[in-house]
Symmetry: C2
Subunit: 333 residues, 2 copies
């Protein structure tokens, strides 16, 4: 007899897009999904309405049989600071959201238990249960996006730390008195290896007159209100051997690799997992980082596996669905 | 009825000195101890004989009643790379020791179970069970000496990592392409904030003609074969307002603080504990580091307690005795 399926709804609420998906939590398979731009600029009520709309659309898209088991729970990963116990998005500048009781809102709408977590945390949980983290007990799952965050898995479970903020690897100092970071500090990893940092470095050189095939594309994209160069555009530029892009990406990878080496030395995890669109699209970033990590780490931990995230865009919704299901009492073997 | 006492023998085998102590493992109290210079230059057999000699002397010094309970086990912390399962000091350049089966040697001599661990790991365990770590479940205990190492406690237990080398915080990159470190890397914390780094910075300036009240003292001490300036000498120089010493210590504390801030952000522990002779003796180092850590960390973790180690010179022997006792089945509440 095949294993009985079970379903949960996962929502990945990001600054750029919101993705909702019905996930078969016995396999990690996405059986139906819906995605739209978040449009955070339209305000908190809009964001919460859009979240409900996309959740409903994902359920419709899943086309579950009338006799299929019900959706057991909802999990959300939101790009901000979360009060997990209260199910509240406390502060999320990229979502234009403040003290938003998303747990209550979704719980009332769908009459299910709801887990609200941080976007990076839920994505790490996705990789933990159905991605590259399977079979590893202690690891760090790092996502490179407009910022850089990570989730720490200890003994197979997410470790959130004293203030619930563990994993803020983007604010590791890698260059004392270095570049100014969005956090107000100096020399943070995020100021060197995030997609925002890569964009700034490329655009600064272009404004300074350096030739690049990105000069038109990137400038147009940024004029249209996007804040960072898309991963696909970076990948194309590298394939076309654009010297500036190659140089900036290699530099970012080099800084990222030093931070990875420091993590291998200090935390000595079973593996490191790297994810995010730019890691998926741009091999040079991943490869440079891995090379530098291995030459930075001490001999013993230098050989630790450094893997790519496996679930891609879906790590957030799969992890959120799994965390929702765990809140409802579901146990993953 | 008072709690029944229980004893274990702890040994702290360091590059400079070896300390052995009989510890009441029900209270963490040292009831007898013996200490001598290690004299690693005399070779491996000498080191193992001296360890046995000091262990015997500590037992004699303890003057346990004839009807006292027996010593249940031996624990050792050695400054090097350890195979904990085999009880072997695999490689310890500072001890002049290679593949030394210390577990077997001490086990045969004293007919007790023996635990052999790393010096920093056992000191962290001392602080965990009877020092500043009491009441905290997840913390990092950092020791500043000739190098910089740390022990990570997770859920009340030491976490040693994939290759048994977790806690190598001295080789966290804080200045990409910065000072050359003893590990062969560049920009490691250890190259900025260890007693070795402080010594190098002070002596370089003195050789360059900069006035300092340390010019005679430190030079004489180093001529006599010591490799680092003693903590007490540094503390005296600061008290006498020696400008060079104050400047170098403040710089070291500033770098240390950035690394602490990075740990608060990434690992978000319940507390950080700082130990080692120079932390005990030189308030300026501790205070500068704490100040910088609080301004480096993000708002939520910035208030995390940063404590001084409580057991001082005894954290190693107390922790080693506790780990020995745990190996023999003793459970700490």
């Amino acid at each position: 007899m095949p294993k009985q399926k079970a379903y949960a709804l996962g929502i990945d609420l990001g600054g750029t897009k919101t993705l909702a998906a019905v996930v078969d939590i016995t396999s990690g398979e996405v059986v139906g999904s819906a995605r739209k731009r978040t449009r955070a600029e339209r305000g908190q009520d809009f964001v919460s309405q859009r979240t409900i709309e996309l959740a409903t659309a994902a359920i419709t898209a899943a086309k579950l049989d009338p006799d299929a088991p019900p959706i057991v729970a909802i999990g959300v990963g939101a790009a901000g600071q979360i009060d997990r116990k209260a199910g509240v998005v406390v502060d999320a500048p990229n979502l234009g959201v403040h003290d938003m009781p998303l747990g209550d809102i979704l719980g009332k709408q769908f009459d299910k238990p709801v887990y609200v977590g941080n976007d990076v945390e839920v994505a790490a949980q996705g990789e933990n249960i159905y991605g590259s983290g399977r079979g590893y007990n202690n690891f760090v799952c790092i996502f490179i996006g407009t910022g850089i965050g990570s989730g720490i898995v200890q003994n197979g479970r997410l470790y959130t730390g004293l203030t619930g903020t563990a994993g803020e690897i983007g604010h590791t100092i890698i260059e004392a008195n270095g570049r100014i970071c969005g956090c107000g500090g100096r020399g943070c990893l995020e100021a060197y290896a995030s997609r925002t940092a890569i964009t700034k470095a490329i655009m600064a050189e272009i404004h300074h007159g350096r030739p690049s095939i990105l000069a038109d594309d990137a400038a147009r994209q940024l004029r249209q209100g996007e804040t960072v160069i898309r991963s696909g555009i970076l990948a194309d530029a590298i394939q076309q051997k654009d010297e500036l892009t190659i140089e900036v990406i290699a530099e970012a990878g080099d800084f990222l690799g030093r931070a990875l080496g420091s993590i291998l030395n200090f935390y000595n995890p079973d593996c490191i997992i790297l994810g995010g669109g730019v890691i998926e699209a741009v091999d040079l970033l991943f490869e440079t980082a891995v090379h530098r990590a291995r030459t930075t780490a001490l001999a013993a931990p230098a050989k630790t596996p450094i893997l790519r995230a496996k679930l891609g865009d879906y790590s957030g919704v799969v992890g959120a669905a799994c965390l929702g299901a765990q809140t409802a009492g579901y146990q993953f073997s």
